[in-house]
Symmetry: C2
Subunit: 311 residues, 2 copies
């Protein structure tokens, strides 16, 4: 695990020829009925955890053939309290055993002393009793409290060869209200944030052999001008691009995040996991939800590959 | 539980004559040796959880005599993985059984659909199997992604008579960099955020019989002009004021957060929990750390009471 996160990620993308991340958002009500029904007789919370386990394991097996990295959305595990959190760590272990890199989408942020505790639980190597516990290769973090508060995350990323994706410009409809606020300086708030982050991202301890940094950024692919500006300000940061598919990001917006076919990963969650809900796939594969997941991943891989020029 | 959070909080403050919150930040290395040594023979992670349980239970017993509310810092529980998270919920139950109100300091924030899952796990009523699980009366949330993303938190707060404290202006040294950024409009970024939040806080479904809202704000007591401006912009929001004691907030800064002796709670964590590390208390009480905790709470209650005019 001594190789830097940025290098491991870029190599894994090259190997799979897919700058694509599948988001693991296990929403119990959306899990195919065939999986949920197996656990019907149990009590509700046990049934939910069992369904999440079975569904996620099967999804991981399928997508691990096609993509280099998956992103676990912590909220859908935390919703099921400590049993959900235990499932989160167990399933991260499963993903790593299948050769996948893992992002923990936890969006944590706090004052510095508290961030050190979050970094220990979510990003450092961990153990419970005699067992080593798998933690994500990278996590998403929220910078609102200030750049100083990212330091314990950055130290942990360096110490354990892990990565960070800092929220810079998110993909939700209301994101512009606070993030695109025009400053007196002429920049937007997110552009100022990007400028400040670029200094941290250029730290020699974070930049790998390909010239990219393990301090990446989350940039929603919403408006072309935003993407272009933020890419220019953060030249070394690998971008995690949520919003493809279900949230409606277009190919053109994605294109601007890449530089010579590198430096970004496009992420889709629900449009892959719950492809069986779309007529496009269900009409072809009926109730075989696993075939739907696989077809959706293959389609996304082709579409993104064409945009980036690696198809 | 049908009474609104804002009313329950204000009544509890009146009853205890203490607009004070004790932060539960169980940092294992700082827990008194007398507690830690009892669990020495066990494996490291079990010993940590056991020490956190014993220490926190004793702290809760002491402070419940003096203050209306405690704030659990989630990071120090998450650091111990799912067992830490289980301890978090169990200890919240203990605090509630002692008649304390509880804030979960989780600072969650994400896009709307994901926020609904966080709200379900952290703020709604919860059960595991046949057991009801105690959840906090209020949580802290991060608004960086946009005001639209707060909606599922607000809906859950209304549905379950719970509260929210939205980060507006934090107490850490680097907070000014992003939060005080001057906008083209002449406001700072935090002031704009406060203006937008005030509309949400004035929602009739959130404002209680005392005229205050269950949508509160986290405002670090760092610079008097910041406090004055944000209080003016958020007239109905109860302020949670971190930074008293260990982080160096002064009495004068705290004073401006109150209106007629109401509308704010001053929070201190380490300066209370680890008072045995301060010569002021250890010289008086020796290794009796529980006496140190009690004396520190009583001192803080007197100091804040004098500032607010209720001592």
């Amino acid at each position: 695990m001594s190789e830097m996160f940025c290098d491991r990620l870029l190599d894994a993308i090259d190997e799979k020829r897919a700058p694509i991340c599948v988001g693991i958002d296990p929403i119990v009500e959306s899990i195919p009925a065939a999986v949920r029904e197996k656990f019907k007789s149990r009590n509700e919370s046990e049934a939910a955890i069992d369904a999440i386990f079975e569904f996620t394991t099967k999804v991981l097996k399928i997508v691990s053939q096609h993509v280099p990295i998956v992103k676990f959305q912590s909220a859908y595990f935390e919703q099921h309290l400590w049993e959900g959190v235990e499932a989160y760590y167990s399933l991260i272990q499963e993903a790593k055993d299948m050769g996948l890199l893992v992002i923990g989408d936890v969006k944590r942020g706090d004052i510095g002393s508290t961030v050190a505790a979050y970094a220990a639980g979510h990003l450092a190597e961990q153990s419970s009793g005699d067992d080593e516990i798998a933690t994500p290769d990278a996590i998403t973090v929220n910078p609102m409290l200030g750049l100083d508060t990212l330091e314990p995350f950055i130290k942990t990323a360096k110490d354990y060869s892990r990565g960070l994706f800092v929220l810079v410009r998110t993909s939700n409809p209301g994101s512009a209200e606070l993030q695109d606020a025009p400053l007196a300086s002429g920049q937007t708030w997110s552009e100022m944030l990007a400028d400040k982050l670029s200094v941290l991202a250029a730290d020699k301890g974070l930049v790998g052999s390909h010239g990219w940094s393990s301090l990446g950024a989350v940039v929603g692919a919403t408006q072309p001008h935003t993407m272009q500006s933020i890419r220019g300000r953060l030249p070394k940061s690998i971008f995690l691009l949520p919003g493809y598919g279900a949230q409606g990001a277009t190919a053109e917006m994605t294109r601007m995040a890449f530089r010579d076919g590198r430096g970004a990963i496009v992420s889709a969650s629900r449009s892959i996991l719950y492809a069986h809900e779309e007529a496009k796939y269900s009409s072809q594969f009926g109730t075989n939800w696993e075939k739907c997941v696989e077809a959706a991943v293959v389609d996304m891989k082709r579409e993104v590959g064409q945009v980036v020029g690696i198809a």
